[in-house]
């Protein structure tokens, strides 16, 4: 926290991503301190009055916080020990916020949370002229969204941590545009008074185009709302990673799940399926998230066989979600 020129500047970082913003303040003397972020946040959120006075004397290791009837003291650290955040000294491009955030939101859930494979915890972000492409994968599924922007963005292909883009969704919501700057190691986003800087992830992202099968043996159009409801209900019984079983037979899709010592579920819906019966297993959560990421009323489901990836997409929307099956026993 740095107080100067009628502003309180706030900076926070976990060394991978950093946030900075300013709030108007009545500053009596310039100075900077480092405070435990979560603790300060918890205190401030619960303060009774609309104004808060934070005072710190340079010789003290504490800051006093007063607001209405509340009075508290918080141990602080020296500002010199705080890491220097990356400079915002690169050309900035205005990107339409809604398109950017929608693209993030459509793919982010497919990113991996396994830190042992850093590349997969990121989202591949590619700007080519006015076309923005994002892709994320955890090796079990892959979500890809192409978005046409009103204006061209910077020339960029970078793997950006998914959690940084998730954070961007919070700080940029309600802003019409997001400013985007790219440096060799970092990507910078600006929204209103807030700046988010994130480290780029080094490494080779899987070849997106190559992973999408060119042909499928089964192509079905399903009512998204209907199948999503069935999947959500069936998922309750698909515990401890037991698969959802999708059995396609003449005119019917039966979705079932069975968890030992827990119970089982079975539900059918009418679909335009013709041909030999086919049974395929999917991770319930991955299938649900794929269906949720499709935004149209109708969802295209394409399959090859129970051991090859299935594809979810929708007509007229440059989005696809590839999902790997789970082997079914018996």
């Amino acid at each position: 926290m740095r107080a100067r020129d009628g502003l309180l500047e706030l900076e926070a970082t976990d060394m991978e991503l950093s946030l900075r913003t300013t709030v108007p303040a009545s500053v009596e003397g310039e100075g900077a301190i480092v405070v435990p972020a979560r603790l300060l946040g918890d205190v401030v959120r619960l303060l009774p009055a609309s104004e808060v006075t934070i005072a710190h004397r340079s010789e003290d290791g504490v800051a006093s916080i007063d607001s209405g009837s509340y009075s508290g003291r918080l141990n602080v650290f020296a500002a010199e020990d705080f890491p220097r955040l990356p400079a915002i000294d690169v050309p900035l491009h205005d990107i339409e916020s809604a398109s950017l955030l929608d693209t993030v939101q459509r793919v982010a859930r497919a990113a991996s949370r396994d830190e042992s494979r850093p590349v997969l915890t990121g989202i591949l972000v590619r700007f080519e002229g006015s076309r923005l492409t994002m892709a994320a994968t955890d090796s079990y599924r892959m979500a890809v969204k192409e978005t046409e922007l009103p204006s061209a963005g910077p020339e960029l292909e970078a793997i950006i941590p998914a959690r940084a883009l998730d954070e961007l969704g919070r700080i940029a919501a309600g802003n019409e545009t997001v400013q985007l700057g790219v440096s060799e190691n970092h990507v910078i986003f600006g929204a209103g008074d807030a700046w988010l800087t994130t480290r780029r992830i080094d490494g080779q992202f899987p070849n997106v185009a190559q992973l999408k099968p060119e042909t499928f043996d089964v192509e079905l159009e399903l009512n998204r709302g209907e199948i999503l409801e069935v999947v959500r209900r069936a998922a309750v019984m698909a515990q401890r990673n037991t698969p959802l079983r999708l059995r396609f037979s003449e005119g019917e899709l039966t979705i079932s799940a069975q968890s030992q010592d827990v119970g089982e579920t079975r539900e059918s819906l009418a679909v335009a399926y013709a041909g030999e019966a086919l049974e395929i297993g999917f991770n319930a959560e991955f299938l649900r998230e794929g269906l949720e990421s499709v935004t149209s009323d109708a969802v295209q489901l394409k399959l090859i066989n129970p051991l090859r990836p299935g594809l979810l997409s929708s007509e007229g929307d440059a989005f696809w979600y590839l999902i790997m099956p789970i082997r079914l026993a018996g």
């Binding site: 830190e115 042992s116 494979r117 997969l120 994968t137 090796s139 079990y140 599924r141 892959m142 899987p206 992973l211 051991l307 990836p309 590839l322 790997m324 099956p325 789970i326 082997r327």
Partner: protein, 224 residues
């Protein structure tokens, strides 16, 4: 192994001074020179102890345990007020701690198929002896380089330290100077992964069911 139950007071002098006032206690004198003073409460840890090598002097109503600690001497003086029971028994050779099932089975499975850890890896010997304990698997890689494999159920920082100790000792032998290390476990903790990478060691998660062929590998879009 000598066990003594006695009303006694215990004075420790050495790096610090500690005094246990007179009370009934269990005194354990192990054949390896360890001495432990136990009370009937306070958990499994002794109230006072001395690690080997020690010198034990048995007096009429006092037992003195001495140990050199650098230039100084650690000294445990046990003054016996009343001897209540005494038992001495030869325990024989220690059978060693049996590794838990998963770890043992994982070692057996990886000994049979070390290549699941790394392409081209082949077993030279199980339980390769070193001065600081046996290395679980000693292997050669595809280029004939030596590879020490430490196997755990859960790979922790302690396991990395253990593997590092083995490697330090192994590499003193010029023939094994380039020996690499792999920590293999059903699950390798993130801190252990980081420490492995910082020390130039490899780590690998090994699924016992998968190695045994009891379960087929998960289907993925690409090899991650």
């Amino acid at each position: 192994m000598r066990l003594v139950v006695a009303r006694c007071e215990v004075t420790y002098t050495g790096r610090l001074t500690a005094y246990l006032p007179e009370a009934i206690r269990l005194l354990v004198f192990k054949a390896d020179g360890s001495v432990l003073v136990h009370a009937d409460s306070g958990g499994y840890k002794p109230l006072n102890w001395m690690t080997p090598p020690t010198v034990i002097e048995d007096g009429e109503d006092v037992i003195v345990v001495r140990k050199r600690a650098g230039r100084t001497e650690d000294r445990l003086e046990i003054r016996i007020a009343e001897l209540l029971a005494e038992l001495e028994h030869e325990l024989g050779e220690d059978a060693g701690l049996e590794k838990d099932g998963v770890e043992r089975h994982l070692q057996e499975a990886l000994a049979e198929q070390p290549h699941v850890l790394e392409d081209g890896l082949r077993l030279v010997r199980r339980e390769w002896p070193t001065d600081v304990g046996p290395v679980d698997l000693m292997c050669r890689d595809a280029d004939d380089g030596w590879v020490a494999v430490e196997i755990k159920r859960v790979g922790t920082i302690e396991a990395v330290e253990q593997l590092s100790r083995y490697l330090e000792v192994l590499r003193r032998d010029p023939a094994l100077a380039e020996c690499r290390g792999i920590l293999a476990a059903s699950e390798v903790k993130p801190q252990a992964r980081t420490l492995c990478e910082a020390r130039g060691l490899a780590w690998a998660e090994a699924d016992l069911a998968l190695i045994r062929g009891a379960r087929e590998p998960e289907l993925t879009l690409f090899e991650a």
